[in-house]
């Protein structure tokens, strides 16, 4: 097979020069004439009936053009797992910070001032803030009649019981028999806190309503087709009345999928007849966005003396906040992956998604998996120690091998889990300083299921012979470049002869939301088919023009030539003179695929302060085929560092019924001085069925096992094990003290 010119090479990304010069346009970077600035009025109470809203003082302020209240919005519900959300709170508020009204003004200072002039009367109601408390039968209800809600976008089967929105039950084998056969049973409880995606770009959108009834929304979104769908439901409009234009997006990690800013901008645009811009403050992001949910994992595992895992029961509780969003998917998928990447014949895993009177949560980079993997990988090291076994050997003994089936339903074609583990372990063994005092290495192993999604692509040859590719999946992670690499190789052009655009919802074929690691996996599949079909057309045209059979035609760098007679040639430009050559191909959703990731982290722990310094970080990823190795290495680095943040310092603090974290002073992100260089290890060979050269999803598996690796490293360093994230100096200090007290 001819060597690929671009696939597998570290090609520089499309759009990077524009980002390097500041020319790239993000959601807040352009304005329209007559544009108004909007601000959102938010509830100061966690659970209350809205008795009245008086906007008269605000409307009297010079420069305030309109105030939107719930009466100005369609009484329609919409949402992800369940259709339970409204554009502005209807009749009651369910969390502190919920949007109650919105103001549009001619300048941002007036809008800000008007916020204080809207008078809302509330009747306070009892509230519940803890998921386990909310599960009790006498807890105050967050939703009184969830059975009356619409189906969600996904939709997840929701059968609520009180505040328990969903309960996913996975059961295989016979756990009681398995425990009876075990030589040792270990039962533990772990918990994690909410953390925020903390994309550096706050939500920014601009909505414009044309008099002929067309709404255009420019926004930072991971999925403009999802956005269009949710807007259509929220505003009760047909999709043809809405065009969503995806801008460059300044990070997302799952937090820019749901529609909660755009519908408000749209309502104000429709009410005023003027373009309306909303940009959230960092405080609003922390108070009313879609951060990662807090979780509790209760796990009980039975194991034989020789290390064979026999049985497991697991309870995984997701504190979902007030509205459903992705809670069911988070709890459900994690329950399905309750074994970890190991062979355990008898399991019973229960995943619960629970409503509380708190800020919404949403999907964040492998939802549920970083949380549950922190628990399961810590648990594996605890089991190993109780058995007197090396934790790596315990994983080798039980880890999935060639021929075995993953929780995603894929059969392993190659021992890629072991390869990832072996390579990380080998790197650790080379460390001459691995036994320094108060220093330790820890390993974490994880996995992720990558979903399929219907997709399409349009590819056309322009009159000058260059090629234009139009796709509908926003470029979140460099996917546009990887997709272009696949197209260029398949079509037979150079990267500089092909331009890939992400079209808006009016122009582009449907694409997957750039989430769930689905973009490159699904899009390279359909794009390769598209490029192949277009190449066939070119070959047919060339064969006719050059009067040779089709098998004799070669294509290279935009020129068709005859094998053995290279002076008989035709450029793409010559071939398309008589007829346009363009094609749109659609593809059904691919079946799910699966990826493993193994992280090795080395830490030093200060025994007095509990401070943890990360000295080294290794990330191995099973990626099938690395379309762009530089991009893959970049994802490994970014995902692992986010994992370090989750492990050590990030937390959305909730106190007294409200979010207390207000800024990046309160909410600590890792800086360049907090983390070492990340050492990526790319493992290929276990190919997916994607025509995109068997690539798998990258963005999420790289973030799954870090916290577990850090917890194990801390234990190996000083013999103390925190059971809660984040493992702040305070928590490590107390774990150390507890250990020395006992």
């Amino acid at each position: 097979m001819k060597e690929l010119a671009f696939v597998g090479k570290p090609v520089s990304r499309l759009g990077d020069p524009e980002k390097a010069t500041g020319a790239a346009r993000f959601g807040a970077d352009f304005t329209l004439p007559g544009m108004l600035y909007a601000k959102i009025v938010r509830s100061p109470h966690a659970h209350a009936k809205i008795l009245s809203i008086d906007a008269s003082k605000a409307l009297a302020l010079d420069g305030v053009v309109a105030v939107a209240t719930p009466e100005d919005t369609p009484q329609k519900r919409y949402g992800f797992g369940l259709g339970d959300e409204t554009i502005l709170a209807q009749e009651k508020v369910r969390f502190c910070g919920e949007a109650v009204a919105a103001i549009a003004a001619t300048d941002p200072y007036v809008a800000e001032e008007a916020l204080g002039l809207i008078e809302v009367q509330y009747e306070l109601l009892p509230a519940v803030f803890d998921a386990e408390e909310a599960m009790k039968p006498d807890a105050p209800l967050v939703h009184d009649d969830p059975a009356s809600y619409e189906e969600g976008f996904i939709p997840f089967p929701v059968e609520p019981k009180g505040n328990i929105a969903t309960h996913t039950e996975i059961s295989e084998g016979d756990v009681e028999k398995g425990f009876a056969e075990s030589d040792l049973i270990v039962e533990e409880r772990y918990s994690t806190v909410p953390i925020h995606q903390s994309y550096i770009e706050p939500h920014a959108c601009l909505a414009q309503w044309d008099p002929d009834g067309k709404l255009t929304v420019w926004t930072c979104t991971q999925g403009h087709f999802v956005m269009r769908n949710l807007l259509a439901k929220a505003l009760d409009l047909p999709m043809t009345s809405i065009n969503v234009v995806p801008m460059e997006i300044g990070g997302a990690f799952g937090g820019k999928i749901a529609a909660y800013v755009e519908p408000i901008a749209a309502v104000l645009a429709m009410k005023t007849g003027r373009p309306v811009q909303i940009v959230l403050t960092r405080q609003e992001e922390l108070e009313d966005a879609r951060p990662r949910c807090a979780t509790v994992t209760e796990v009980k595992t039975g194991v034989k003396r020789d290390g064979t895992l026999v049985a497991r029961t697991l309870k995984f509780i997701v504190d979902n906040g007030a509205y459903t969003d992705f809670g069911p998917g988070t709890a459900g998928a994690a329950a399905e992956a309750g074994r970890g990447p190991y062979r355990i014949p008898n399991v019973r895993c229960d995943g619960y998604s629970v409503w509380t009177h708190k800020f919404n949560t949403g999907p964040m980079r492998a939802p549920g998996f970083p949380q549950i993997t922190f628990a399961l990988e810590s648990h594996m090291d605890v089991i190993a120690e109780k058995l007197g076994m090396d934790p790596v050997e315990l994983r080798r003994k039980n880890g999935l091998r060639t021929g075995e089936t993953t929780f995603a339903g894929t059969a392993l074609q190659k021992d890629v889990f072991m390869e990832c583990l072996d390579k990380v372990v080998a790197r650790i063994a080379e460390d001459p300083k691995k036994d320094a005092p108060d220093t330790g290495w820890g390993i974490g192993c994880g996995e992720w299921r990558v979903g399929g999604h219907p997709s399409g692509a349009t590819l056309k040859i322009n009159e000058d012979g260059t090629a234009s590719l139009i796709i509908g999946a926003p470029d979140l992670t460099g996917s546009r470049t990887s997709i272009a690499q696949v197209a260029a190789d398949e079509l037979g052009v150079r990267m500089d002869q092909l331009f890939a655009t992400v079209g808006d919802t009016d122009e582009a074929p449907l694409g997957p939301v750039s989430a769930g690691s689905m973009a490159t996996y699904n899009m390279t599949n359909v794009v390769r088919r598209t490029a192949h079909a277009l190449r066939q057309k070119i070959v047919a045209l060339a064969a006719e023009r050059l009067e040779v059979p089709e098998e004799d035609i070669d294509i290279e760098e935009g020129v068709a030539s005859v094998q053995g007679a290279p002076d008989k040639r035709a450029t793409f430009a010559e071939l398309v003179q008589e007829q346009q050559v363009a094609i749109t191909v659609t593809a059904d959703a691919l079946p799910p695929t699966h990826a493993f990731a193994v992280h090795g982290v080395k830490v030093h722990v200060d025994r007095e302060t509990g401070n943890v310094t990360v000295l080294r970080a290794i990330g191995a990823l099973d990626c099938g085929k690395a379309i762009n190795p530089l991009s893959v290495a970049g994802q490994i680095g970014g995902g692992l560092v986010q994992g370090l943040g989750q492990a050590l310092c990030e937390q959305v603090v909730f106190e007294d019924g409200r979010v207390a974290s207000r800024s990046f002073t309160d909410y600590k992100l890792p800086t360049a001085m907090d983390v070492p260089p990340v050492e990526p290890i790319i493992v290929e060979g276990d190919l997916s069925t994607s025509d995109g050269h068997g690539c798998k999803g990258i963005g999420e598996p790289v973030h799954v096992p870090t916290a577990g690796a850090v917890a194990n490293a801390i234990y190996n360093a000083v013999g103390a094990r925190p059971y809660e994230l984040p493992m702040t100096p305070e928590k490590v200090h107390w774990a150390l003290k507890q250990r020395s007290d006992t």
């Binding site: 990304r13 500041g22 300048d107 903390s198 995902g639 986010q642």
Partner: protein, 158 residues
């Protein structure tokens, strides 16, 4: 509030702007001059995506009043490229995979330029210290540090 006149030089060009006294330098740059390369990530001087050079020194423009830049020289990301060609830092960022979403990139490049202007041959630790005020959520910093090192080498002709 009555507007006041602000005279300043931005990327080598003199400007006179009528600004609200409450306007930050960031707002003046973005809204009045249309230079949207400099970003607002937090509005509180913590993420560094609003970094510009003020008389050659890096500052967070979101926590500085526009009027405090009266008569001074500002360099934004749009002023980093030289004669229409990418600056070696910009070129290195592109080549080393140091750009993912691109939102922190302008502030990161401006901070790195300030470093290389002072210290043409920085160590890894010095690079990390120079960009400690620039938060990046996508890259984990590894490729960014590599890019700054590579730019330093290219600029010194090594």
């Amino acid at each position: 509030m009555a507007k006041q006149l602000l005279s300043l030089t931005v990327n080598g060009e003199r400007h006179e702007l009528a600004v609200d006294p409450r306007d930050t330098l960031l707002r003046a740059i973005r809204d009045h001059l249309g230079l949207t390369g400099t970003k607002e990530g937090c509005g509180e001087g913590e993420c560094g995506s609003c970094t510009v050079l003020l008389d050659g020194k890096p500052v967070c423009s979101c926590i500085m009043l526009a009027l405090d830049a009266q008569g001074r020289e500002v360099t934004t990301i749009e002023g980093i490229a030289e004669d229409g060609k990418l600056h070696p830092l910009q070129q290195a960022f592109v080549e080393h995979g140091a750009i993912q979403c691109g939102f922190c990139t302008p502030g990161m490049i401006v901070s790195a330029k300030a470093l290389l202007d002072e210290s043409p041959d920085p160590t890894e630790d010095e690079i990390r210290a120079a960009i400690v005020g620039n938060l990046c959520r996508c890259t984990g910093y590894t490729h960014i540090v590599n890019a700054v090192k590579a730019a330093a080498e290219a600029m010194s002709g090594r």
